[in-house]
C-alpha cells in the first residue's frame, strides 16, 4: 500500500497538494460552529449522488414524468433515494442560511476573504433555483401549479419577465418542453454554475487557510485534522441520520398527476412561505416588491457587508452584525409562522389538503392496479368513476337529486326535489320504494309531480288491504327487481325469492297493470321494469327519460342528458361522462 502511494505521489505530487488540508491549523481551536461548512459540502455530495441515481429512471415529459417518479417510488430503495434527495434539498437551504449567519457573526468575510463571502452568498439564490426547478419535475398537480405560479412571478418582472417566462416554459403554458427545460436547468446548467461558484469558494478558502508554518504559538491552537474533523463528521452524521429518518418515515410527497379539472389549493414549499406571506402586504402593481425587490435588496445588502463593515466604529460593527442576524431570523420566522398559522386555521385549505391526499392515494392505487396507459398518468383519475362520479353528480344531478345515506353522508342536493339515488337499484333502495310511508316521502317521489300519482296510490292501497304475507311478498319483489340490476349475482338461497318476486310482479301484486316487465304488461304508462337499475337501463334512462320506455310525456323535470335522437354535440353529458357517472352510481 505504502509503495503504491509513494509511486502515485512521485507522479502526481498529491501529498503536497493535500498538505494545506493536513497541516491546516485552527488558531482559536476547534469549534462546533465551524462544522457548518463541511456539513454543507457533505449534503451537496448527497444531492449529487442521489440526483445521479434518480437520473437513471426519471423521464421528463408531461406523459411520463409522474409515471416515472411513481416507478421510482415502487423500485427497491427508490422511495428512500428520492426521499433523501428531497429532504437533503431542505437541509441544504437550512445549512446554507446557518453557514451565512455563522460567517457573519465570526466576521470571516473580512479582507482578503471577500470573494469567499460573495461566492458563498451567491450559492443561496442558486440553491433556491435548484429547488424551484426540481420540485415541479414530478408533474403532479401541485408541481404544475407551483411552476405556473413561479413562471408568472418571473413574467411579472419588468422588461425581461415575459421573455424569460416563455423561455422557461418553452411556450405559453406548461407542456413537454417545460419539463425538459426544468430538467436541463436542474441537472445541467445549475450544477455547472454551482460547481463554478464552489470552485471559487473552496480555492479561496484553501488559499487563505492558516497552515502550520504560519502559526504564531498560541495556547488554544490545534490542527484541523482530526480535532475539527471529528466534530465535522459528528454533525454531518447527525444531519444525514435526520435526512435518512425523514426519507424512511415520510418519504418525498407525490401528489396526484396534473389535471386542471381537479382543483387544489397549492402552497409554496416552507422555505418560500416568508415571500408568500410578504406578498399579502404588496398587492396589485406592488407585488413585485415582495417577489423581486425585497429578495434582491436583501441579497445585495448581504453582498455589500464586507465593504462597509470595516468603516464602522468599533462598537457599532458587532452590534450591527448581531442585529442583522436577529432581524433576519426574526423576520423569517414571523412571516413563515404567520402564513402557516393562517393555513392551519383555514378550514377550506385543510379540506383541500385532505382531498389532495385522497387523490394522490387513489392515483397511486390505480397506477399499481392497472398500469399507466400510454396517454400518461393524467388519464388515471380522469377515467376513474370513483373520482369523477361525485364531480359529475354534483355538476349535473345534485340540483335536484341527493345521493346520501341515511346518516346524511354523501352528496345532498341544494333543494332536494327528486329521489335520493344512494344505493339506486339495490334491494334496500327498492324496498323503500315499496314502503307505504317512504314512497311518497322526500327520499322517493315526495317532491316530484308523482307525489300523489298512481305509484304512490298503488303502494298505499297495497298496504291498506294488507294481507299477512305482504311484507314477505314485497321482500321477494325487491329481490326480484334488484336481480334485474345485477343479474347472476344472487346467492342460491335468494334465487327462490327472486323467482317468487317475478311471479308476484306480473301476477298477484299487479305491477304489470302499469309497468312492463319482461313479456308482461305494456310500455306507455310507467317505466319499464325489465332490466330495472341495470347499467343499460340507467344509461338509456339518463340519456332520455322522455323515451316511451320510461316516462314518456309524463316525465317530470328531468332533462334528457344525451338523447340518441340528438347529435352528440347537443348532449349535456358526453358518452364518457355518462359511463363514469353510471359506473359510480351503480358501484
Amino acid at each position: 500500500m505504502r509503495v503504491l502511494l509513494d509511486w502515485l505521489d512521485a507522479r502526481t505530487g498529491y501529498r503536497s497538494f493535500l498538505a494545506p488540508f493536513r497541516e491546516r491549523i485552527l488558531p482559536e481551536g476547534p469549534s462546533w460552529w465551524l462544522t457548518s461548512a463541511s456539513c454543507l459540502a457533505w449534503v451537496f455530495a448527497i444531492e449529487l449522488v442521489t440526483g445521479l441515481l434518480l437520473m437513471t429512471t426519471y423521464s421528463p415529459s408531461t406523459t411520463s414524468a409522474w409515471a416515472s417518479v411513481h416507478y421510482i417510488e415502487q423500485s427497491s430503495a427508490g422511495r428512500f433515494v428520492r426521499g433523501v434527495h428531497y429532504f437533503a434539498s431542505h437541509a441544504l437551504i437550512v445549512l446554507l442560511a446557518v453557514h451565512v449567519l455563522r460567517v457573519l457573526v465570526y466576521r470571516a468575510f473580512r479582507a482578503p476573504r471577500e470573494l469567499i463571502w460573495i461566492s458563498g452568498l451567491l450559492l443561496m439564490p442558486l440553491v433556491i433555483a435548484w429547488a424551484v426547478t426540481g420540485n415541479p419535475l414530478s408533474a403532479s398537480q401541485k408541481a404544475v401549479t407551483q411552476i405556473e405560479v413561479e413562471a408568472n412571478i418571473i413574467g411579472s418582472t419588468p422588461l425581461v419577465g415575459p421573455a424569460v417566462q416563455r423561455l422557461l416554459l418553452g411556450g405559453d403554458e406548461v407542456g413537454h418542453l417545460t419539463f425538459t427545460h426544468l430538467y436541463f436547468l436542474h441537472v445541467g446548467l445549475l450544477p455547472l454554475a454551482g460547481l463554478a461558484l464552489l470552485a471559487v469558494h473552496l480555492s479561496q478558502v484553501y488559499r487563505h487557510a492558516v497552515v502550520r508554518e504560519q502559526l504564531v504559538a498560541s495556547g488554544e491552537a490545534l490542527p484541523y485534522w482530526p480535532y475539527q474533523s471529528v466534530r465535522n463528521a459528528t454533525v454531518a452524521t447527525a444531519v444525514t441520520a435526520l435526512i435518512g429518518w425523514l426519507a424512511w418515515r415520510r418519504g418525498a410527497p407525490l401528489d396526484a398527476p396534473a389535471d386542471a379539472d381537479l382543483a387544489i389549493l397549492p402552497r409554496p414549499e416552507w422555505y418560500f412561505r416568508c415571500l408568500f406571506e410578504l406578498r399579502r402586504y404588496f398587492t396589485g402593481d406592488w407585488e413585485f416588491i415582495a417577489t423581486l425587490v425585497v429578495p434582491l435588496a436583501t441579497l445585495l445588502f448581504f453582498l455589500a457587508i464586507p465593504f462597509f463593515d470595516r468603516y464602522l466604529p468599533r462598537r457599532l460593527a458587532p452590534a450591527l452584525r448581531w442585529s442583522i442576524v436577529i432581524l433576519a431570523i426574526g423576520a423569517w420566522d414571523w412571516l413563515t409562522w404567520t402564513s402557516l398559522a393562517r393555513d392551519a386555521s383555514d378550514e377550506e385549505y385543510q379540506t383541500a389538503r385532505v382531498r389532495a391526499a385522497e387523490l394522490s392515494e387513489r392515483a397511486r392505487q390505480l397506477a399499481d392496479a392497472r398500469g399507466i396507459p400510454p396517454e400518461g398518468a393524467s388519464t388515471l383519475l380522469r377515467d376513474d368513476a370513483q373520482t369523477q362520479g361525485p364531480l359529475l353528480f354534483q355538476r349535473h344531478c345534485a340540483s335536484c337529486h341527493s345521493c346520501s345515506d341515511s346518516g346524511g353522508a354523501g352528496i345532498v342536493a341544494a333543494t332536494p326535489s327528486a329521489p335520493n339515488l344512494y344505493g339506486f337499484g339495490s334491494t334496500s333502495w327498492i324496498a323503500g320504494l315499496l314502503d307505504a310511508e317512504a314512497v311518497g316521502g322526500p327520499h322517493y317521489l315526495g317532491h316530484t309531480k308523482f307525489a300523489e300519482g298512481d305509484m304512490v296510490t298503488a303502494i298505499q292501497e297495497l298496504h291498506a288491504d294488507a294481507s299477512d304475507d305482504l311484507t314477505a311478498q314485497l321482500r321477494a319483489v325487491a329481490h326480484a327487481l334488484a336481480a334485474e340490476a345485477a343479474p347472476g349475482q344472487d346467492s342460491p338461497q335468494d334465487e327462490g325469492l327472486v323467482s317468487q318476486g317475478r311471479g308476484l310482479i306480473s301476477g298477484q301484486l299487479g305491477c304489470t297493470n302499469c309497468h312492463k316487465f319482461r313479456d308482461q304488461g305494456e310500455l306507455g304508462s310507467a317505466p319499464d321494469l325489465t332490466g330495472y337499475g341495470s347499467r343499460q337501463w340507467l344509461e338509456e334512462f339518463v340519456r332520455n327519460p322522455r323515451d316511451e320506455r320510461f316516462y314518456g310525456d309524463r316525465n317530470d323535470r328531468m332533462p334528457a342528458f344525451a338523447a340518441r335522437s340528438l347529435p352528440s354535440d347537443h348532449h349535456l353529458l358526453t358518452d364518457r361522462e355518462l359511463r363514469l357517472l353510471i359506473d359510480w352510481l351503480l358501484h
Partner: protein, 183 residues
C-alpha cells in the same frame, strides 16, 4: 482515536446513501416477468396457402417500465400451411416459427424465391422446415440451431364459423445450440 472516529462516522454517513443507491441501481436486475408464453390467435386459416410461408404479427399487452400498452405487436411469426385434404380444415396442419433469428435476434425474412428463410443480418439461411442451411458459397450457417418452432393449433369460432391459427408465442435465448425459453 479521534481519527478513527472521524473515519467511522464518515463511513456511516456515506453508507446511508451508498447502500440504498446500490440497491436502486440494481433494480433493473430484478426479474419483472416480461418472459413467459402467451397464446394468441394470429391468422385465419383460409388466408394461408399450402406451401407458402406467410408472416403475421402477434399482438398483446406489453409493459414498458411504467407504461402499460394495451395492444402492441410483441413479435412476429412465420406460418406455413402443409399439405392436407383441400377444403377440409380439420385435416390441415400448420407449422409456426418465431421470426426471431436464433443467432443474434434479427427478424428472419423469406428469400425472394419463397422457398427459403434468410436472416438479413448475417445471411443465416433456413429451409422451410426451419433447419439451418449453408449459405451461397457453401459456408456453414451462422445460426447455432434451427429456427425456433412454436406450438400452434387450429381453433374454430364458437359459432362454427372461421378456423383460426392459434400460436403459443414465446421468446428463446439467442446464441445457444439448444432452444431455451427466456424467463
Amino acid at each position: 482515536m479521534l481519527k478513527w472516529l472521524s473515519g467511522a462516522l464518515g463511513a456511516a454517513s456515506a453508507a446511508v446513501v451508498v447502500l440504498p443507491g446500490g440497491r436502486f441501481l440494481a433494480d433493473a436486475l430484478r426479474q419483472r416477468g416480461s418472459g413467459g408464453a402467451v397464446v394468441k390467435r394470429v391468422a385465419r386459416l383460409d388466408d394461408l396457402v399450402v406451401g407458402k410461408p406467410k408472416s403475421y404479427p402477434v399482438f398483446d399487452s406489453r409493459r414498458d417500465a411504467w407504461t402499460l400498452y394495451p395492444d402492441q405487436a410483441i413479435g412476429r411469426v412465420w406460418l406455413l400451411r402443409e399439405e392436407g385434404a383441400p377444403g377440409d380444415a380439420e385435416a390441415s396442419k400448420v407449422r409456426a416459427f418465431t421470426a426471431v433469428c436464433p443467432h443474434l435476434g434479427c427478424a428472419i425474412q423469406l428469400d425472394s424465391g419463397g422457398q427459403r428463410f434468410v436472416c438479413p443480418c448475417h445471411r443465416a439461411a433456413f429451409d422451410l422446415d426451419g433447419r439451418p442451411q449453408p449459405d451461397e458459397s457453401g459456408k456453414k450457417s451462422h445460426a447455432p440451431r434451427g429456427m425456433d418452432s412454436l406450438e400452434c393449433r387450429l381453433v374454430r369460432d364458437s359459432d362454427e364459423g372461421n378456423w383460426w391459427v392459434e400460436v403459443q408465442y414465446e421468446k428463446f435465448e439467442s446464441g445457444l445450440t439448444t432452444k431455451v425459453p427466456k424467463v
